[in-house]
Symmetry: D2
Subunit: 131 residues, 4 copies
């Protein structure tokens, strides 16, 4: 159960795996799941304006990470310009979400903020491979 090994098995990759891109696929996948979970957990807390905003930015970040990780998984044909744009969009979504979750003290928001910052940093590393 390894995303990197699965992508390496693609007929057009054939051993030439872009390691930072494979890593960010995995972390965007996890980030989509963690943000989905955080939005759900926030709805179970006392919901005031701050918490509503947290539900919003987590749900948005989950959707962006979900799309970004699917684009970054594909190796048939080529769509590099769009992939780079999507990685940048993902960085923006993750930083907004991390900054908001960091304002809450509960454990799920702390974990979500940490995941989002790690995901944003991995997107930067993946982007650097395209220069």
């Amino acid at each position: 159960m390894s995303i990197a090994k699965m992508i390496a098995a693609h007929p057009d990759v054939a051993g030439n795996l872009n390691e930072p891109l494979a890593l960010v696929v995995k972390h965007m996948m996890y980030c989509a799941a963690i943000c989905t979970s955080c939005a759900d957990a926030c709805a179970a807390e006392e919901v005031d304006a701050m918490r509503r905003q947290c539900i919003r930015v987590c749900a948005d970040c989950a959707d962006v990470c979900d799309a970004a990780f699917k684009l970054a998984t594909r190796r048939t044909g080529s769509n590099e310009a769009l992939l780079q744009t999507m990685l940048r969009t993902c960085i923006e979504a993750c930083i907004i979400c991390a900054d908001h979750c960091a304002m809450h003290e509960d454990d799920h928001c702390r974990r979500c903020a940490e995941m989002c910052r790690e995901c944003a940093a991995d997107c930067e590393k993946a982007l650097a491979t395209f220069q």
Copy 2:
């Protein structure tokens, strides 16, 4: 069954519906569906390098439109900077997909190209409301 009426029923919208934004939500939803269908139809055609690229750009465009339409649907809290970035990303995905589908003569690619161009134009109109 109206996306615009549904968004207008949101407690924080209360009659102040951003019409171009409501319209693009609907068209991004349709564009995600049409691109999913076109990728599936292309896999049933004779698959050469051109067709593979069409499957790829349609699948990527479907994922981007899907995420973009969910972000644009939400009215709880506010995430405007990210929404604008996502609309721009959606324009890029749609134009890439439209340009490729326009090179094929089959009816599903023709319909997909048309949908993508309309969606990109609607994203521009929605973006203009944020200036």
Copy 3:
């Protein structure tokens, strides 16, 4: 912009469109969007236990409809047993969501309940075409 015309353009459909199946694709797509919107609108209301449950069943119904409509869109190859199971799962998700939303008086829940009942009825009609 017609889901039915798009599916009819699939090379393996070639005019033999299953009309009730094409209709339910469209309504499951709308139902996924309306439920996503209702979950978001509920988070902007006063959130008590009833409202939390509404957010939950709407979010779950959105995910089920989203998967079901993608399965029902595809016409390459054949996956009929799974499609029938998914239509039945969609009926269950829609009825649960409709029953809960019907307990709330706000306009978005009323619209969501209506959409879910219509979607469940259309799934029944599509299922009948497989007998």
Copy 4:
């Protein structure tokens, strides 16, 4: 980056984590990703009728696992009957996909079949916790 620890941090879980359900969430998430990757890799192989069917069952399985894992992640409110139905639907999708991928000799299909069988077995274990 642990799905189980994230779900354990939900305010309504508070230490009472359903371990088999947390494990299946992670494996359904991975299975959705692996099936998305396998559908993409199959489109890069020589595409005949067998390969088309593989693209179809992988794409369908990805969508079902994606919805199932999101439902199984949520702990706000309760939707247990639907969750059980969805786990059963996921088992069906995974077995169909595993059986088809097992007929191909390439590494990505072999990995996909293995993932799908593991996911189906984990769904069974999660279902057993509801009896």
